[in-house]
Symmetry: C2
Subunit: 438 residues, 2 copies
C-alpha cells in the first residue's frame, strides 16, 4: 500500500487543526506510519480553492465524502450527536475506518456504534474525545492493560478548571470569570455542558467503560456543576490545605461502580490539585502499577488534532502492516532513523545557579557582575547575606540569564581567580521548561 487516504467532514476547530497538522508534519507522519497519510476529500460550507489547488476534493455535503470510494479513513469533526451520528454510521456501513473527537456521540451512542463497527469489520477510534491531546485512552486501553483499574480521577474540563483557578487566585465571582472565559473563547456561548459537568460526564463515561470493561453508561453518571461555588469556599478550602477542583471520579468497588462528577476538595500536596488553568489531568490507580497521571492540553484545535492524527497513524500502521509488526521500535521506519548531529555541551544554553564563597569585603558583587557582563551574562536573582557570627566568608548565590556553557566556563574561571573568592564556584543549570503552563 503506498498511501492511506483520509476524508474529513467539517473543517471547524478540530477539522481545521487536523488538516494543518497533517500538512505541517507530513514527512514525519509518513516516516511514522510506513506510508503517507493523504487528505483526499473534505466537506465544508465554505469555498476552499486553496485545498482544491492541492488536489483535495471539497464538497458541501458530507455524504459525498462518505460515498467516495477513495477515502479509507473518515474523520468526523462535525460535533453534536445528530449529523455526527449519521456521518459515523454511514461511514462504518461504507466500510471506512472512522476517527472522531466527539465525546457526546461516543458517550451517548457508543455502545451501538461499536457494535456496528464490529459488524462491518472496521475500527471506530476516539482518543481525542477525552482530554484532547493527552493519550489517556491509549494508556487505559493498552499501556495499563495488565492492571485491574481500581479508580480514576480527572480534571477533564478545561473551561471549568480555568474558572475555578481564577476564582481562587483572584478571589473573583463565578459569573464574572465565566464571562471572561466566554470572551477568551474557552467557554461556549451556551456554557451549560462545561459548567454543569455534562462534558466531563461524557468523558468520564468513556474512561470508566474502558477502565472497567463495562458498557458506556452516561445515563448513570451523577453530575453536579460548579456554578454554586463561591470564592469564600475556595478560600476556606485553601486555609484547610485543600484546593477545590471539578473532578470526574470513577471507582470500581465491591458493591458497584461509582460514576460521578462534582466539585471536590483535594489536598494541596497532590499533583492533581496543582493542575491549573485550562489544563486537564487524569490520575489512574492500577493494581500493578499503582497511581499514574497524565497531564496536558484538553482542548484546542491543534492539541485535539494531535490525538485525531495519532488515531489515524495507528490505523495507517495497521492498514499497511506486514507480519503484525505495526509499530517500529524507534517510532519511525528503520530506514527513516537519521543520525542527527549532537550539540557540543559548550554550546548548550541554559540559565545558571552559581554559589560563590567570598571574603566578607565590599565590592565583591561589582567584580563578579562585571566578569559575567564581559561574557554577556546578566544576573536575574541574587542572595547575599551578611556574615554570621564573625565569619570571614559569605555565600553569594546568583541566578543568571541564559548563557552557553562556554561563556559560563570562562566567567567562572575568571571569578575563581579573584582574590575575594575563596572556594570553587558551585554551578547548577536552571531550566524553566517554558510552555508547561502556556
Amino acid at each position: 500500500m503506498n498511501e492511506v487516504t483520509i476524508g474529513i467532514c467539517g473543517l471547524g476547530t478540530v477539522g481545521g487543526g487536523v488538516l494543518e497538522v497533517l500538512s505541517r508534519n507530513a514527512d514525519l507522519i509518513t516516516e511514522r506510519s510506513h506510508t503517507p497519510l493523504r487528505v483526499v476529500h473534505v466537506s465544508t460550507r465554505y469555498e476552499r480553492k486553496d485545498l482544491e489547488a492541492g488536489g483535495i476534493t471539497v464538497s458541501r455535503d458530507y455524504r459525498d465524502v462518505i460515498a467516495d470510494p477513495g477515502v479509507q479513513i473518515l474523520i468526523e469533526a462535525y460535533g453534536g450527536t445528530d449529523h455526527a451520528g449519521d456521518i459515523v454510521r454511514a461511514a462504518i456501513r461504507a466500510g471506512k475506518q472512522v476517527v472522531t473527537a466527539n465525546k457526546a456521540l461516543i458517550a451517548e451512542q457508543g455502545n451501538e456504534l461499536f457494535a456496528l463497527a464490529a459488524e462491518h469489520g472496521v475500527s471506530l477510534r476516539f482518543e481525542a474525545a477525552v482530554a484532547g491531546g493527552i493519550p489517556v485512552i491509549k494508556a487505559l486501553r493498552e499501556g495499563l492493560a495488565a492492571n485491574r483499574i481500581e479508580w480514576l480521577a480527572g480534571i477533564i474540563n478545561g473551561t471549568g478548571n480555568f474558572i475555578l483557578s481564577e476564582m481562587r487566585d483572584r478571589k473573583r465571582q463565578f459569573a464574572d470569570v465565566l464571562a471572561e472565559a466566554q470572551a477568551l473563547g474557552y467557554a461556549e456561548a451556551d456554557p451549560t455542558f462545561d459548567i454543569e459537568g455534562i462534558d466531563a460526564a461524557h468523558k468520564l463515561t468513556i474512561m470508566a467503560a474502558i477502565a472497567f470493561g463495562m458498557p458506556l453508561r452516561f445515563d448513570a453518571v451523577y453530575t453536579e456543576g460548579i456554578s454554586t461555588l463561591t470564592p469564600e469556599d475556595l478560600a476556606y478550602a485553601d486555609e484547610l490545605g485543600y484546593c477545590i477542583k471539578h473532578l470526574g471520579m470513577a471507582r470500581q468497588g465491591e458493591q458497584g461502580v461509582e460514576l460521578r462528577v462534582h466539585p471536590t476538595l483535594l489536598p494541596m500536596d497532590l499533583l492533581l490539585a496543582n493542575v491549573n488553568g485550562v489544563k486537564n489531568a487524569i490520575l489512574v490507580e492500577g493494581d500493578a502499577v499503582g497511581p499514574t497521571l497524565y497531564y496536558g492540553a484538553g482542548a484546542g484545535g491543534s492539541a485535539t488534532a494531535s490525538a485525531v492524527v495519532a488515531d489515524s497513524i495507528d490505523l495507517a500502521r495497521q492498514l499497511s502492516a506486514n507480519q503484525g509488526c505495526t509499530v517500529p521500535p524507534l517510532g519511525v521506519t528503520p530506514a527513516a532513523v537519521r543520525d542527527l548531529p549532537i550539540l557540543p555541551m559548550g554550546e548548550v544554553k541554559t540559565a545558571w545557579y552559581l554559589r560563590l564563597t567570598a571574603k566578607d569585603e565590599p565590592g565583591v558583587m561589582s567584580q563578579v557582575s562585571s566578569i559575567l557582563g564581559a561574557q554577556g551574562i546578566s544576573i536575574e536573582a541574587l542572595i547575599q547575606k551578611a556574615a554570621k557570627g564573625g565569619a570571614k566568608q559569605v555565600p553569594v548565590v546568583v541566578i543568571t540569564n541564559i548563557a552557553s556553557q562556554s561563556n559560563l566556563d570562562r566567567a567562572v574561571a575568571s571569578i575563581e581567580a579573584l582574590d575575594v573568592i575563596v572556594a570553587p564556584v558551585t554551578r547548577i543549570r536552571v531550566e524553566t521548561l517554558d510552555g508547561q503552563d502556556g
Copy 2:
C-alpha cells in the same frame, strides 16, 4: 489461535513480578488480549515446585527456554548486558517476540538488536525500560506520533529523586540519605548507576531516539551526578523559588540535539518540580499538543511488570488479531463487556466539607457535632471565626471523616433545622486519592 505462550528468563524482582501479575489478573488479561497469555517455561537458579505443579517447565539454563518451540514471547528479565544480550539475540534468532525491561541493554546495544529483530521479522519491546510502569514509550511512539517533539525533560531515576527530596525536606546530607536509600532497598549496593546519572542516561537515550527518530546514542549523553549537591544549595534554590531535580533533558534544536543528565533548578510552580520521592515523571513538548506529562512509579517489581505485561498484551493482540483490528474499542473483547452494577449515590462514601452559617451564639458546635455524631460522622478539621464588625452571623467550616451521602444528607437536614443555623448548608465532597504518593 487459542493462547499465546510466554517464557521468562530470570525470576528476580521483575521476572517474579511478571509471573505474579499474569497469574493474578489472568482473566482480565485474557479479555483484553482476545486470548489467554500462558507462562509455559521459565529459567531460574531456584527450585520452583509450585510452578511445576502449575504445568510450567522450570529450567536452570535460560537456553532451554529459548530452545523451547512452545514459547512465542520471551521475556528477558536477567538484567545486565552480557547474558541479557545473549538471551535477546538468541531469542530473536529463534523467531520469538521479545520483551525486556533492560534499559542498559537497549540503550547500549539497541541499534544492533532492532536490526536483528527486523531481519527475523519479530518485535523487540521495551516499555518497561523507561520509567517502569508509566507508558511513556507508548505515548512517544504512538500517542504523540502526530507531533514533532521539540524537547522532553524527565525525572527518570527514582532513587536519585528520593535522595534529593529527603535532602531538601529534612536538610540531610547526601551520604546520609544514600545510606538510608540502600537500607530501604531503593538503591543498589553499588549505587553508581543511580547517583551518577548512568541509569537516567540509559533511559534518556531511549526516549530521545524515539522522540527525534535518531539512533540510540548513549555515548553522546552528557552526564553529571548528584553526589556533590549540598543541603545548602537545595535551601538557597528554595529561597529563590526553585527545586533542584536530577533531570534528563533531550532537545532538538537547529544546531543539533542536546542530550544531558544533570542536577537542574526548576521553578517551583512546575508540576515536575513537585514530583517527589521515588516517583518518575516525564514532560514532553510536542508542536501540536504542547506540553504533556506522564507520572508514576518508575521502578518496583509490580509496576515494572505492568509495563512488561502490557507489551506482551500488545504482542498477543497482534498475534491473534483478525482484520487488523487489534485493540477493541473498550479495551476488552466485545463479548467480555459486562454490565456492572452502579452504586447509588446515597451509598457513595467520601469525606465532606460543610459550610454553615450560624447565629453568633455559644453552643452551635456542640449541637452540630452531636447531630453529626448521631450519623456516625466525626469532625476532622474546623474553622470557626469570631463575628466581624458586629455581624450577627458567623461562618463555620467543617471537614468530616468519610461518610455515606445518605448519612450526610440526614445530618445536614437536622443541622438546617436548628434554630441557630440561618442558611442552607454548603456541602462539597473531599477526596484524598490515597496512593498518589504511596
